[in-house]
């Protein structure tokens, strides 16, 4: 049975990077399902304590969603860039939804199942990070891209260098600085909130 999914997803990603918000709505559930799959893996304990493998795992999940090798993109770099952006968008969106749920301030209808999966986790941090990353973009656009590609996109430094057309060394040093800046930013905001 021929399943034209990779084309479908490619088209959705292209449409979304071209500004089509409907495409995002269709992509979001796919990411969500993949998340659930990963989460189930953790639940079964299959991956507990295998931190080293998690990056590979996420990569795999990510490739399952997008199948970069079979895509007809302008180039790989463009694809990675769009995908990382997509992931950021969706994950932060999830985090916001979960935060709202916890605060009970939003009348969004979420099933019992979903309500129960809301646990105190990185939701708040993820939202704060997103905010801080927006501030960083105003200071240094490229550094915020490096963070987006690495953290949300799960890319290696080599891949990021390819996307941004800079040397891996630059990526490495951008990451170090941006990371320090973001960590300081996050701890400051946390203090301010408290």
């Amino acid at each position: 049975m021929a399943i034209p999914t990779t084309h479908e997803i490619t088209d959705l990603l292209v449409a979304w990077s071209g500004g089509d918000q409907l495409a995002l709505e269709k992509l979001t559930p796919l990411v969500y399902q993949e998340l659930r799959r990963l989460a189930q893996g953790y639940l079964r304990g299959e991956r507990a304590g295998h931190t080293l493998q998690t990056t590979a795992l996420v990569h795999e999940a990510y490739l399952r969603l997008t199948d970069a090798s079979r895509m007809r993109w302008q180039n790989r770099a463009h694809f990675f860039a769009v995908s990382a952006q997509l992931m950021r968008h969706i994950l932060v969106d999830f985090a916001r939804a979960r935060r709202n749920l916890k605060r009970g301030g939003d009348a969004q209808q979420v099933s019992l199942d979903e309500a129960l999966t809301v646990a105190a986790g990185h939701s708040a941090e993820l939202i704060a990070l997103d905010d801080a990353l927006q501030d960083l973009a105003r200071l240094d656009e490229r550094q915020s891209k490096v963070v987006e590609l690495r953290f949300f996109g799960g890319l290696t430094e080599g891949e990021i260098a390819e996307v941004l057309q800079v040397s891996p060394r630059t990526v490495s040093s951008d990451w170090s600085l941006a990371r320090s800046w973001l960590l300081r930013e996050l701890s400051r905001r946390e203090r301010d909130d408290a």
């Binding site: 999914t5 990056t55 399952r64 749920l101 979420v110 999966t117 990185h122 993820l126 953290f151 949300f152």
Partner: protein, 924 residues
């Protein structure tokens, strides 16, 4: 901070990072000069450089997944929860833990699901949860899990539900498809449960095999209404319920991939008809043994749900009726309007299907009563959302043994002689002779009833892990005990390359290069591995040889025994004394040899035996079985063989043969000279262990049972049936030559000496008998017996068996061990080879004038036999008749035929064989 300033901070940060940590402060002090703010800024950032961070140092997707997976709740075993004592933990899921518990007053056992405490933080949601759970509990339907109680413990809400023993439908179907009968039975119960919930406005939204529970008495319970959502607001419903959008937050999809409806995949509005789609997907899976929608990833599966039509179930399981197929299709309509509009309609449709099958109707009536509606149980303003039951309430009892599922792969008339799984584990290659045609190799797949001929007259011996076939070219023998030229060829065509002659069995080693073979060399049999290195040599035929998965043992059959030999030539007899071993193969783990064999008769059973000799019966069926192969995942390829021997007859004056088969294994012995009577024995189950002799008129009137024994000849006057009775008891004579009267009278025992009698024929005078037998220490020879008594008198030399006597009683036709025909005088003298004979000639009658004999011979086309007239003095051979044989399976080369001396009437035995190749799942 400005970008320029940040840039400057960055420049210094990078520079400082190049310096050893201890010198950084000094470096910065020098580099920043008087700009102390700059120095402090960089210094503070450097403080974060080596600090690990839980969030940023892992990809976000990973962090999000971990958040999802966050587990909670400590074990409550031993504690009290309300009226319940917690006994043990049954399971753990994403939504809490399930315990086994006992009500302290009632003694009743129950399952308690404790939800994570975080859930209780939201008072509003907790209240809603309680309402939902009560609504589901109050359904009070035999096919919906019953909720007894709801409470909260240390801030964690819990549900008390009935404790079920059994397994989920997922577990139930792990061995493959269910029978249509059973699948419809389960489906009807699910439909009834759904109907009850839907009529109360409760939609499940996440129906899947994991939350359908089959109890040990066969009742199906729907669990986990966890994703059910309000679809029907009551008039005074709360504001939240009346205004909330039907879409879920952030476009999240609820439901489980594979069973989601198209509208769920598209995150559109969902109603009860989504459940009917999921129901259809589950029913499909029960019937087909595989998911209706399946892709290599979640995304592909969802795409399949949106775009693909699953393959027709009836193509996968032929027992699925068109009506059932239509019902499944209707549930799986992509468009919500195409489906059944209610679960009640669906249940009615299923009831009609199953009432066509009266027994299933009765079974269902016992297990599932339709529930009455009980509106008074509903709280007036309740939100009708069903309870959350996620994990299976599974009690750790051993699961009920699943009956294996049989899938028939071949449908033609004829014989399958060998079959193997190809390396992909799906494709099956087999050799067969269909509808009387030549033997061929075929390829098929379980999902298709069709087979593709590979265009080669050969017997399949083995398939290597890389898809190389080992075959026997120009095989002689049939299925059991073939001989042929071993050849090798790739599955995908090209010409076979002959390797070795006279091979009876072969198997590939796991490396795909070496072959183990059994072959005949100068009348002895060699087992060689690798080919050329003899591990074992014997006087007996070696058949059905298989290398173990680990490659350390080779199992084979020799003389009715299952043998195993290792690579150093150490041999073990695992099991012996079998009448017919029809096939063997290793279990996937290499711990057992499975084989089909019968101790008595032909109805072989599938057995297994370990190398240490522990034997058990795997399965028994009322057919002869031939095991061909076991796949790496334990699926079994075997043939169910139903072979019968029938009798056809040409009565005098008729031009049409008629079928005069009586029981299952008729052997023609003789026909009267006028062609009006024929004598036969029944040697199968109908005839009993000792066989039974019958006399029958060729006009087709019912036969007369003459007595026990094997028939050989009818006396010239038709008053006696010449019979040999074999004695299987340990004492007494091995066999007796007995005359059974065809009319009134007593049977006469002619000879019960130490001679073991094998066959016998009448002299034309009706007073003497030529019987062939074996004296201890001698080979077979012919003896004359007087029917009035006296000692048997040997008249041929050893090694000859008399077959025909000339009309004047002076000459014999005898055969030697190689089946060569000899002509000799009754008075003695050297036997002369019959001139003009051809190998395979079977003597059937002496011509009335005494100058010729009739012999029967296989025709090149297996549908035919040819009868030749052979002139004894000149050796002139002429084709006298070509016979079209009914249902020619040609398992045995020689089938008896009797003909009148004028050649105008005859009777013969033919074989009716039905070999069906099956793929069996779930044998253990």
């Amino acid at each position: 901070m400005t970008p320029e300033r940040y840039n400057e901070v960055g420049r210094l940060y990078r520079a400082a990072m190049e310096v050893a940590p201890a010198q950084r402060a000094a470096f910065l002090a020098a580099a920043c000069g008087e700009d102390d703010a700059l120095r402090q800024e960089v210094q503070s950032l450097l403080g974060y450089a080596e600090r690990p961070d839980d969030l940023l140092d892992h990809p976000a997707l990973d962090a999000a997944a971990r958040t999802f997976a966050k587990e909670s709740a400590e074990s409550l075993v031993g504690q009290r929860l309300g009226q319940y004592q917690i006994l043990s933990l049954l399971g753990k899921g994403g939504m809490g833990e399930v315990y086994r518990a006992r009500h302290m007053q009632l003694g009743r056992e129950a399952a308690i699901k404790v939800l994570p405490a975080e859930y209780a933080e939201n008072v509003d949601r907790l209240r809603r949860f309680e309402q939902e759970a009560r609504a589901a509990g109050m359904l009070n339907h035999p096919n919906v899990l019953t909720i007894y109680d709801i409470g909260s413990h240390a801030g964690a809400p819990y549900l008390v539900a009935e404790l079920l023993e059994g397994e989920t439908l997922r577990e139930r179907t792990r061995c493959g498809a269910l029978t249509p009968h059973r699948a419809v039975g389960y489906a009807l119960q699910v439909a009834r449960g759904l109907a009850a919930a839907h009529e109360k406005g409760i939609v499940h939204r996440d129906l899947k095999p994991e939350n359908l529970f089959v109890t040990q008495d066969g009742r199906v319970k729907i669990l986990d209404f966890g994703l059910a959502k309000l679809t029907q607001s009551l008039s005074r419903g709360d504001a939240d319920a009346s205004t909330h959008p039907h879409r879920t937050a952030s476009g999240m999809i609820l439901g489980t991939i594979g069973y989601m409806s198209p509208e769920q995949v598209r995150a559109e509005e969902v109603d009860h008809r989504s459940d009917l789609f999921a129901f259809g997907a589950i029913l499909y899976e029960m019937l087909a043994g595989r998911a209706a929608f399946r892709g290599s990833s979640a995304v592909e599966t969802m795409s399949a749900i949106l775009n693909a039509e699953p393959r027709l179930v009836s193509l996968i399981c032929r027992r699925v009726s068109p009506a059932l197929e239509r019902l499944v299709r209707r549930c799986l309509g992509k468009n919500i309007e195409e489906r059944f509009q209610s679960a009640r309609d669906l249940a009615f449709a299923l009831e009609e299907l199953s009432s066509a099958d009266a027994s299933s109707g009765a079974a269902l009536a016992r297990t599932s009563e339709p529930s009455g509606r009980r509106p008074w149980l509903l709280p007036a303003s309740a939100l009708l959302i069903a309870a959350t039951m996620l994990a299976a309430f599974f009690v750790g009892r051993p699961a009920e043994q699943m009956p294996p599922e049989f899938q028939r792969l071949t449908f033609h008339r004829g014989a399958v002689t060998a079959a193997r799984f190809a390396p992909d584990g799906q494709t099956i290659i087999y050799s067969a002779r269909w509808q009387g045609e030549q033997q061929q190799l075929y390829s098929t797949r379980p999902e298709s009833p069709e087979s593709r001929p590979l265009g080669l007259d050969a017997e399949l011996l083995a398939i290597s892990p890389v898809g190389e076939l080992a075959i026997a070219l120009q095989p002689s023998g049939f299925g059991l005990g073939i001989r042929g030229t071993l050849a090798q060829m790739p599955i995908a065509g090209s010409a076979p390359r002959p390797i070795l002659q006279n091979v009876s069995a072969a198997d590939w080693a796991a490396d795909g290069k070496r072959l183990a073979i059994a072959r005949e060399v100068n009348g002895r049999y060699h087992l060689e591995f690798p080919s050329g290195t003899t591990l074992h040599e014997t006087a007996y035929a070696i058949e059905r040889l298989r290398i173990s998965p680990q490659g350390d043992w080779i199992a084979f059959e020799e003389r009715g025994a299952i043998e195993a030999i290792n690579l150093t030539g150490k041999r073990k007899t695992l099991s012996s004394g079998w009448n017919a071993v029809t096939g063997l193969a290793w279990s996937p783990d290499g711990n057992e040899v499975w084989f089909t064999a019968a101790k008595v008769g032909f109805n072989s059973t599938l057995h297994s035996i370990t190398l240490s000799g522990r034997q058990r019966v795997v399965t028994r069926l009322p057919h002869q079985l031939r095991l061909f192969d076991i796949s790496r995942d334990g699926r079994v390829l075997l043939a169910s063989v139903n072979v019968r021997k029938g009798i056809r007859c040409l009565p005098p004056g008729d031009s049409q043969e008629r079928d005069l088969s009586w029981f299952d294994w008729g052997h023609v012995a003789d026909i009267s000279d006028d062609g009006r009577l024929f004598l036969f024995s029944e040697a199968g189950e109908g005839g009993g262990a000792g066989q039974t002799v019958y006399l029958r008129k060729t006009d087709g009137s019912p036969p007369i049972r003459l007595g026990e024994g094997v028939a050989y000849g009818l006396s010239p006057k038709g008053d006696w049936a010449l019979t040999i009775r074999r004695n299987s008891a340990p004492s007494g004579p091995l066999s007796q030559v007995i005359l059974l009267p065809t009319g009134p009278g007593e049977a006469k025992v002619l000879a019960d000496s130490r001679i073991n009698w094998q066959r016998a024929i009448w002299f034309p005078d009706g007073k003497h008998i030529l019987a062939s037998g074996v004296e201890p220490g001698r080979r077979v020879r012919g003896y004359v017996l007087d029917i009035e008594g006296g000692e048997p008198r040997p008249i041929t030399r050893e090694g000859l068996t008399g077959r025909l006597i000339s009309p004047d009683g002076q000459w014999l036709i005898a055969v030697d061990a190689r089946q060569t025909l000899a002509h000799l005088s009754v008075a003695g003298g050297e036997p002369q080879p019959v001139p003009g004979q051809v190998a395979g000639d079977e003597p059937i009658q002496w011509s009335a004038n005494g100058r010729s004999i009739y012999v029967r011979q296989d025709a090149p086309d297996p549908k035919f036999k040819r009868i030749y007239r052979l002139e004894l003095t000149t050796g002139r051979r002429e084709l006298w008749k070509e016979q079209l044989i009914a249902d020619p399976v040609r398992i045995a080369q020689s089938l008896p035929m009797a003909m009148t001396p004028d050649g105008k009437s005859y009777a013969y035995t033919y074989i009716r064989g039905i070999f069906d190749l099956y793929l069996i799942r779930g044998l253990k």
